[in-house]
Symmetry: C2
Protein backbone atom coordinates (compact mmCIF):
# COMPACT_ATOMS: atom_id res chain seq x y z
CA UNK A 1 0.00 0.00 0.00
CA UNK A 2 1.29 3.43 -0.95
CA UNK A 3 0.18 6.62 0.76
CA UNK A 4 -1.79 7.38 -2.42
CA UNK A 5 -3.74 4.14 -1.92
CA UNK A 6 -4.54 5.23 1.65
CA UNK A 7 -5.84 8.57 0.34
CA UNK A 8 -8.02 6.76 -2.21
CA UNK A 9 -9.49 4.67 0.60
CA UNK A 10 -10.20 7.89 2.54
CA UNK A 11 -11.89 9.28 -0.58
CA UNK A 12 -14.25 6.32 -0.79
CA UNK A 13 -15.38 7.00 2.77
CA UNK A 14 -15.71 10.72 2.00
CA UNK A 15 -17.82 10.08 -1.12
CA UNK A 16 -20.20 7.80 0.78
CA UNK A 17 -21.19 10.73 2.99
CA UNK A 18 -20.97 13.46 0.32
CA UNK A 19 -24.11 15.58 0.04
CA UNK A 20 -22.90 18.82 -1.59
CA UNK A 21 -23.02 17.74 -5.22
CA UNK A 22 -25.20 20.59 -6.44
CA UNK A 23 -22.99 23.62 -5.84
CA UNK A 24 -22.54 26.10 -8.71
CA UNK A 25 -19.06 26.77 -10.14
CA UNK A 26 -18.84 30.52 -9.32
CA UNK A 27 -17.53 30.94 -5.74
CA UNK A 28 -20.43 31.86 -3.44
CA UNK A 29 -18.42 34.45 -1.50
CA UNK A 30 -16.72 35.84 -4.64
CA UNK A 31 -13.29 35.52 -3.03
CA UNK A 32 -9.96 34.11 -4.23
CA UNK A 33 -7.07 33.22 -1.94
CA UNK A 34 -3.42 32.97 -3.06
CA UNK A 35 -1.30 31.10 -0.55
CA UNK A 36 1.56 28.64 -0.08
CA UNK A 37 1.46 24.88 -0.73
CA UNK A 38 2.90 24.33 2.78
CA UNK A 39 1.42 21.29 4.53
CA UNK A 40 0.84 23.27 7.73
CA UNK A 41 -1.67 25.58 6.01
CA UNK A 42 -5.31 24.68 5.56
CA UNK A 43 -6.86 27.88 4.21
CA UNK A 44 -10.42 26.49 4.32
CA UNK A 45 -9.99 25.97 8.08
CA UNK A 46 -8.09 29.12 8.98
CA UNK A 47 -10.46 31.35 6.97
CA UNK A 48 -13.67 29.54 7.83
CA UNK A 49 -14.46 28.77 4.18
CA UNK A 50 -17.22 26.35 3.28
CA UNK A 51 -17.30 24.18 0.18
CA UNK A 52 -18.16 26.36 -2.81
CA UNK A 53 -17.11 29.63 -1.17
CA UNK A 54 -13.75 30.60 -2.70
CA UNK A 55 -11.10 29.90 -5.28
CA UNK A 56 -7.89 28.69 -3.66
CA UNK A 57 -4.61 29.10 -5.56
CA UNK A 58 -1.52 27.55 -3.98
CA UNK A 59 2.14 27.28 -4.97
CA UNK A 60 5.55 27.31 -3.33
CA UNK A 61 5.56 30.56 -1.37
CA UNK A 62 2.04 31.68 -2.29
CA UNK A 63 3.59 33.89 -4.94
CA UNK A 64 1.71 36.02 -7.49
CA UNK A 65 3.50 34.10 -10.25
CA UNK A 66 2.47 34.32 -13.89
CA UNK A 67 0.47 31.15 -13.29
CA UNK A 68 -1.30 32.59 -10.24
CA UNK A 69 -2.18 35.64 -12.37
CA UNK A 70 -3.51 33.32 -15.10
CA UNK A 71 -5.74 31.75 -12.47
CA UNK A 72 -6.89 35.10 -11.04
CA UNK A 73 -7.76 36.42 -14.50
CA UNK A 74 -10.00 33.38 -15.02
CA UNK A 75 -11.36 33.77 -11.50
CA UNK A 76 -12.38 37.41 -11.98
CA UNK A 77 -13.39 37.55 -15.65
CA UNK A 78 -15.15 34.20 -15.94
CA UNK A 79 -16.28 33.38 -12.41
CA UNK A 80 -16.99 36.76 -10.84
CA UNK A 81 -14.60 36.97 -7.87
CA UNK A 82 -13.77 40.48 -6.68
CA UNK A 83 -11.78 40.17 -3.43
CA UNK A 84 -8.34 38.58 -3.27
CA UNK A 85 -6.23 37.65 -0.26
CA UNK A 86 -2.48 37.06 -0.66
CA UNK A 87 -1.21 35.05 2.30
CA UNK A 88 2.45 34.15 2.92
CA UNK A 89 3.52 32.51 6.19
CA UNK A 90 6.16 32.39 8.90
CA UNK A 91 8.83 29.67 8.68
CA UNK A 92 8.31 29.44 4.90
CA UNK A 93 10.93 27.40 3.05
CA UNK A 94 11.17 30.19 0.46
CA UNK A 95 12.80 32.39 3.12
CA UNK A 96 15.75 29.99 3.47
CA UNK A 97 16.76 29.37 -0.15
CA UNK A 98 18.34 31.36 -2.94
CA UNK A 99 17.99 30.72 -6.65
CA UNK A 100 21.74 30.21 -6.96
CA UNK A 101 21.92 27.56 -4.23
CA UNK A 102 18.92 25.60 -5.50
CA UNK A 103 19.97 25.84 -9.14
CA UNK A 104 23.43 24.54 -8.19
CA UNK A 105 21.97 21.70 -6.09
CA UNK A 106 19.69 20.62 -8.94
CA UNK A 107 22.44 20.74 -11.52
CA UNK A 108 24.67 18.61 -9.27
CA UNK A 109 21.92 16.07 -8.51
CA UNK A 110 20.44 15.76 -12.00
CA UNK A 111 23.24 16.70 -14.37
CA UNK A 112 20.83 19.15 -16.07
CA UNK A 113 21.23 22.91 -16.28
CA UNK A 114 18.72 24.49 -13.89
CA UNK A 115 20.03 28.05 -14.17
CA UNK A 116 16.95 29.23 -16.10
CA UNK A 117 14.47 28.44 -13.30
CA UNK A 118 13.40 31.27 -11.01
CA UNK A 119 12.16 29.61 -7.83
CA UNK A 120 10.70 32.91 -6.55
CA UNK A 121 12.37 32.82 -3.11
CA UNK A 122 12.19 35.85 -0.85
CA UNK A 123 14.29 37.32 1.94
CA UNK A 124 11.65 39.47 3.68
CA UNK A 125 8.25 37.98 4.49
CA UNK A 126 6.21 41.20 4.65
CA UNK A 127 7.92 42.70 1.60
CA UNK A 128 7.13 39.59 -0.45
CA UNK A 129 3.46 40.04 0.43
CA UNK A 130 3.60 43.72 -0.58
CA UNK A 131 5.34 42.82 -3.84
CA UNK A 132 2.70 40.23 -4.72
CA UNK A 133 -0.26 42.47 -3.83
CA UNK A 134 1.29 45.18 -6.02
CA UNK A 135 1.87 42.74 -8.87
CA UNK A 136 -1.78 41.67 -8.88
CA UNK A 137 -3.06 45.24 -8.61
CA UNK A 138 -0.68 46.26 -11.41
CA UNK A 139 -1.88 43.64 -13.88
CA UNK A 140 -3.86 45.22 -16.72
CA UNK A 141 -5.98 42.07 -16.83
CA UNK A 142 -7.27 42.21 -13.26
CA UNK A 143 -10.45 44.34 -13.17
CA UNK A 144 -9.86 47.68 -11.39
CA UNK A 145 -12.73 47.11 -8.93
CA UNK A 146 -11.07 44.01 -7.41
CA UNK A 147 -9.84 44.51 -3.83
CA UNK A 148 -6.49 42.90 -3.01
CA UNK A 149 -5.18 42.65 0.54
CA UNK A 150 -2.04 40.98 1.89
CA UNK A 151 -1.46 38.97 5.06
CA UNK A 152 1.04 36.81 6.89
CA UNK A 153 -0.08 33.59 8.58
CA UNK A 154 1.76 32.48 11.71
CA UNK A 155 2.14 28.69 11.58
CA UNK A 156 2.66 28.59 15.36
CA UNK A 157 -0.47 30.52 16.36
CA UNK A 158 -2.81 30.12 13.38
CA UNK A 159 -3.22 33.91 13.25
CA UNK A 160 -3.37 36.17 10.21
CA UNK A 161 -1.84 39.65 10.35
CA UNK A 162 -2.51 42.24 7.68
CA UNK A 163 0.47 43.69 5.82
CA UNK A 164 0.01 47.38 5.10
CA UNK A 165 0.60 48.29 1.48
CA UNK B 1 -17.83 44.86 6.06
CA UNK B 2 -16.23 43.11 3.12
CA UNK B 3 -16.11 39.34 2.76
CA UNK B 4 -12.40 39.59 3.58
CA UNK B 5 -13.30 41.18 6.93
CA UNK B 6 -15.66 38.26 7.61
CA UNK B 7 -12.83 35.81 6.87
CA UNK B 8 -10.52 37.69 9.25
CA UNK B 9 -13.16 37.40 11.96
CA UNK B 10 -13.37 33.65 11.27
CA UNK B 11 -9.57 33.47 11.55
CA UNK B 12 -9.64 35.04 15.01
CA UNK B 13 -12.02 32.33 16.17
CA UNK B 14 -9.86 29.66 14.49
CA UNK B 15 -6.66 30.94 16.14
CA UNK B 16 -8.26 30.90 19.60
CA UNK B 17 -8.72 27.15 19.32
CA UNK B 18 -5.51 26.41 17.39
CA UNK B 19 -3.34 23.72 18.96
CA UNK B 20 -1.21 22.42 16.07
CA UNK B 21 1.55 25.04 16.17
CA UNK B 22 4.45 22.60 16.44
CA UNK B 23 4.24 20.72 13.14
CA UNK B 24 7.44 20.36 11.08
CA UNK B 25 7.64 21.81 7.56
CA UNK B 26 8.23 18.54 5.63
CA UNK B 27 4.87 16.91 4.84
CA UNK B 28 4.30 13.98 7.23
CA UNK B 29 2.86 11.74 4.51
CA UNK B 30 5.45 12.81 1.90
CA UNK B 31 2.70 13.53 -0.63
CA UNK B 32 1.97 16.46 -2.96
CA UNK B 33 -1.37 17.09 -4.65
CA UNK B 34 -1.84 19.18 -7.81
CA UNK B 35 -5.45 20.19 -8.33
CA UNK B 36 -7.80 22.94 -9.48
CA UNK B 37 -8.57 26.19 -7.62
CA UNK B 38 -12.30 25.40 -8.05
CA UNK B 39 -14.39 26.40 -5.01
CA UNK B 40 -16.18 23.03 -5.01
CA UNK B 41 -12.95 21.13 -4.28
CA UNK B 42 -11.55 20.74 -0.78
CA UNK B 43 -8.66 18.31 -1.25
CA UNK B 44 -7.97 18.05 2.50
CA UNK B 45 -11.53 16.75 2.96
CA UNK B 46 -11.84 14.54 -0.09
CA UNK B 47 -8.43 12.89 0.52
CA UNK B 48 -8.65 12.72 4.30
CA UNK B 49 -5.53 14.84 4.81
CA UNK B 50 -4.66 16.18 8.22
CA UNK B 51 -2.76 19.39 8.90
CA UNK B 52 0.90 18.84 8.11
CA UNK B 53 0.32 15.84 5.83
CA UNK B 54 0.76 17.08 2.25
CA UNK B 55 1.75 19.87 -0.06
CA UNK B 56 -1.25 21.20 -1.96
CA UNK B 57 -0.68 23.03 -5.25
CA UNK B 58 -3.72 24.59 -6.89
CA UNK B 59 -4.32 26.65 -10.03
CA UNK B 60 -6.96 27.08 -12.73
CA UNK B 61 -7.44 23.55 -14.05
CA UNK B 62 -4.96 21.83 -11.73
CA UNK B 63 -2.44 21.96 -14.55
CA UNK B 64 1.21 20.87 -14.39
CA UNK B 65 2.20 24.39 -15.38
CA UNK B 66 5.77 25.65 -15.16
CA UNK B 67 4.83 27.13 -11.79
CA UNK B 68 3.40 23.83 -10.53
CA UNK B 69 6.66 22.16 -11.62
CA UNK B 70 8.63 24.84 -9.74
CA UNK B 71 6.61 23.96 -6.65
CA UNK B 72 7.04 20.19 -7.12
CA UNK B 73 10.80 20.55 -7.55
CA UNK B 74 10.95 22.37 -4.21
CA UNK B 75 8.57 19.82 -2.70
CA UNK B 76 10.70 16.82 -3.71
CA UNK B 77 14.25 18.15 -3.47
CA UNK B 78 13.92 20.29 -0.34
CA UNK B 79 11.02 18.76 1.55
CA UNK B 80 11.18 15.08 0.73
CA UNK B 81 7.85 14.30 -0.96
CA UNK B 82 7.82 11.26 -3.23
CA UNK B 83 4.19 10.63 -4.29
CA UNK B 84 2.21 13.07 -6.42
CA UNK B 85 -1.48 13.09 -7.31
CA UNK B 86 -2.72 15.12 -10.29
CA UNK B 87 -6.46 15.71 -9.92
CA UNK B 88 -8.66 17.44 -12.51
CA UNK B 89 -12.43 17.53 -12.11
CA UNK B 90 -15.76 17.24 -13.89
CA UNK B 91 -17.56 20.47 -14.87
CA UNK B 92 -14.22 22.33 -14.89
CA UNK B 93 -14.35 25.82 -16.39
CA UNK B 94 -11.20 25.00 -18.39
CA UNK B 95 -13.26 22.56 -20.46
CA UNK B 96 -15.51 25.34 -21.72
CA UNK B 97 -13.03 27.99 -22.84
CA UNK B 98 -10.49 28.39 -25.60
CA UNK B 99 -7.41 30.60 -25.55
CA UNK B 100 -8.71 32.53 -28.54
CA UNK B 101 -12.09 33.34 -26.96
CA UNK B 102 -10.63 34.41 -23.63
CA UNK B 103 -7.81 36.41 -25.21
CA UNK B 104 -10.38 38.25 -27.37
CA UNK B 105 -12.69 38.90 -24.39
CA UNK B 106 -9.81 40.32 -22.34
CA UNK B 107 -8.56 42.51 -25.14
CA UNK B 108 -12.07 43.90 -25.64
CA UNK B 109 -12.65 44.50 -21.93
CA UNK B 110 -9.25 45.94 -21.05
CA UNK B 111 -7.89 47.40 -24.26
CA UNK B 112 -4.66 45.44 -23.69
CA UNK B 113 -3.24 42.73 -25.92
CA UNK B 114 -3.79 39.38 -24.18
CA UNK B 115 -2.73 37.20 -27.11
CA UNK B 116 0.48 36.08 -25.37
CA UNK B 117 -1.29 34.41 -22.42
CA UNK B 118 -1.81 30.66 -22.56
CA UNK B 119 -4.69 29.93 -20.19
CA UNK B 120 -4.03 26.15 -20.39
CA UNK B 121 -7.61 25.14 -21.25
CA UNK B 122 -8.36 21.57 -22.25
CA UNK B 123 -10.98 19.80 -24.35
CA UNK B 124 -10.71 16.28 -22.90
CA UNK B 125 -10.72 15.80 -19.12
CA UNK B 126 -8.92 12.46 -18.96
CA UNK B 127 -6.39 13.39 -21.62
CA UNK B 128 -5.48 16.57 -19.73
CA UNK B 129 -4.72 14.43 -16.67
CA UNK B 130 -2.56 12.08 -18.77
CA UNK B 131 -0.74 15.05 -20.30
CA UNK B 132 0.03 16.55 -16.91
CA UNK B 133 1.17 13.26 -15.35
CA UNK B 134 3.47 12.79 -18.36
CA UNK B 135 4.80 16.34 -18.07
CA UNK B 136 5.76 15.83 -14.42
CA UNK B 137 7.30 12.42 -15.07
CA UNK B 138 9.19 13.89 -18.01
CA UNK B 139 10.78 16.72 -16.08
CA UNK B 140 14.52 16.16 -15.60
CA UNK B 141 14.23 17.92 -12.24
CA UNK B 142 11.70 15.55 -10.65
CA UNK B 143 13.56 12.67 -8.97
CA UNK B 144 13.06 9.37 -10.86
CA UNK B 145 11.77 7.55 -7.76
CA UNK B 146 8.75 9.84 -7.40
CA UNK B 147 5.43 8.12 -8.16
CA UNK B 148 2.90 10.21 -10.10
CA UNK B 149 -0.72 9.12 -10.56
CA UNK B 150 -3.62 10.93 -12.21
CA UNK B 151 -7.29 11.16 -11.23
CA UNK B 152 -10.56 12.87 -12.02
CA UNK B 153 -12.78 14.16 -9.22
CA UNK B 154 -16.53 14.16 -9.76
CA UNK B 155 -17.95 17.34 -8.22
CA UNK B 156 -21.42 15.75 -8.06
CA UNK B 157 -20.42 12.57 -6.17
CA UNK B 158 -17.16 13.51 -4.42
CA UNK B 159 -15.51 10.44 -5.98
CA UNK B 160 -12.01 10.12 -7.43
CA UNK B 161 -11.42 7.87 -10.45
CA UNK B 162 -7.93 6.91 -11.57
CA UNK B 163 -6.91 7.79 -15.12
CA UNK B 164 -4.76 5.07 -16.65
CA UNK B 165 -1.56 6.37 -18.17
Amino acid sequence: MTVTDDLLQANRTFAEGFDQGDLPAPPARRVAVVTCMDARLDPASFLGLGLGDAHVIRNAGGRASDDALRSLIISSHLLGTNEYLVIHHTDCGMLSITNEDLQRKLSLETGEDASHIDFLPFADLEQSVRDDVARIKGSPFIPPGVRVRGFTYDVHTGKLSEVDA
